[in-house]
Symmetry: C2
Subunit: 189 residues, 2 copies
DNA sequence: GACGTGCTAGACCGACTGGTCTATAGAATA
DNA sequence: TATTCTATAGACCAGTCGGTCTAGCACGTC
């Protein structure tokens, strides 16, 4: 086993959130998937399920952010880079038989305003992802204001399209929604 | 009590899904909110929690569809009508202190492909809502293809924006994302 | 070797879950 | 009045939940 117990637990949580969501993920499932005994949860995550969820969010956004940075900083047109990202996301969704979604969005809809710590982590996560997109757009001459608004819209189209695609069992809702938004943006400098 | 026991249970489920999601809603919560004894669940919903969830989805989409039809069939410009809808949604979100979301999206992210019946109900729900929007756009001269694509994008922007707004604790992500998409569409005949 | 420390290991807990059961009240039909 | 059907009513069930506990193992450092 190359990874630490703690890492395996966080990864199991991320994966299960993508497929089933936070509330449908039991701590027993987690220790089974991570091949760990129950007690390690108490040791590594004294904050309980909330702490594991936040760790999974942080791990997910780290991964997403670096992939997004790599895609948008390659010098090509940012909107083209996002279109390619979209194609790969669609392929991945189909490969998973429409089982896997975005872990951030799923947890977002499972929380109430009382889950303060989780929502703070989620908000910070979306701020970072939008920041990468907006930075790329600004590098291409968009104003800070325009870039931020476009980032809102791009992330929204992706999350909202993905959600419709999963229940439809086909990628079209996600692909069409995102492509439509990206094309309109391209047409308007 | 003006409504039937069955209706009160379905409404309690809809409301709780909006706030907490399906998995965080216990059957005990439901019968408490509906002021009903446990046994009525067995009687009215022999299909268990799944059947209650589907009934809540159907009830929600009936309500949403009729409101959306009323808004888009008034003869005004459809995109203007949707902008007004957006303003009201933003006001409602703020009023709820960012507690209430879309019941369809929440359940969508809590289900797996194994939850076939629920996903079928959700897909049908989104098809109906997109259908109302696309019909309005076609009445204004858009082609069927364009109208459908625009409906994908509008619903996606709404759901994705709402999700970001809830964790951010401010309406901007939803308002900016939707307004941006609607404005771009207006600029392109 | 003794000791402290970081971590593994799994038994165990009360609370709660979705779901089932039987008893019965009330209205409609015979 | 007798019977039937629909719906209410709440006790009850096995299973699972998140979480806690103590025991012990493999390390270093004194």
């Amino acid at each position: 086993m190359t990874s630490t117990t703690r890492e395996r637990i966080v990864q199991a949580m991320s994966a299960s959130i993508q497929a089933r969501g936070m509330n449908a993920t039991g701590l027993n499932d987690l220790v089974r998937d991570a091949a760990a005994p129950k007690g390690v949860l108490y040791h590594h995550f004294p904050g309980g399920k909330t702490q594991i969820t936040i760790a999974a969010i942080d791990e997910s956004v780290d991964r997403l952010e670096s992939r997004l940075e790599r895609a948008t900083e390659r010098g090509d047109d940012v909107l083209d880079a996002l279109t390619m990202w979209l194609e790969r996301a669609a392929a991945g969704l189909r490969e998973s038989s429409f089982a896997l979604g975005c872990p951030l969005a799923t947890v977002a809809l499972e929380t109430t305003p009382d889950d303060r710590d989780i929502r703070v982590a989620l908000d910070a996560a979306f701020v970072r992802l939008r920041g990468v997109i907006a930075a790329g757009l600004q590098r291409e001459g968009r104003t800070a204001n325009d870039a931020e608004r476009m980032a809102f819209a791009i992330v929204a189209a992706y999350e909202g399209g993905l959600l419709q695609a999963r229940v439809a069992g086909q990628v079209e809702p996600m692909v069409e929604a995102c492509r439509f938004v990206l094309d309109l943006m391209r047409a308007r400098p």
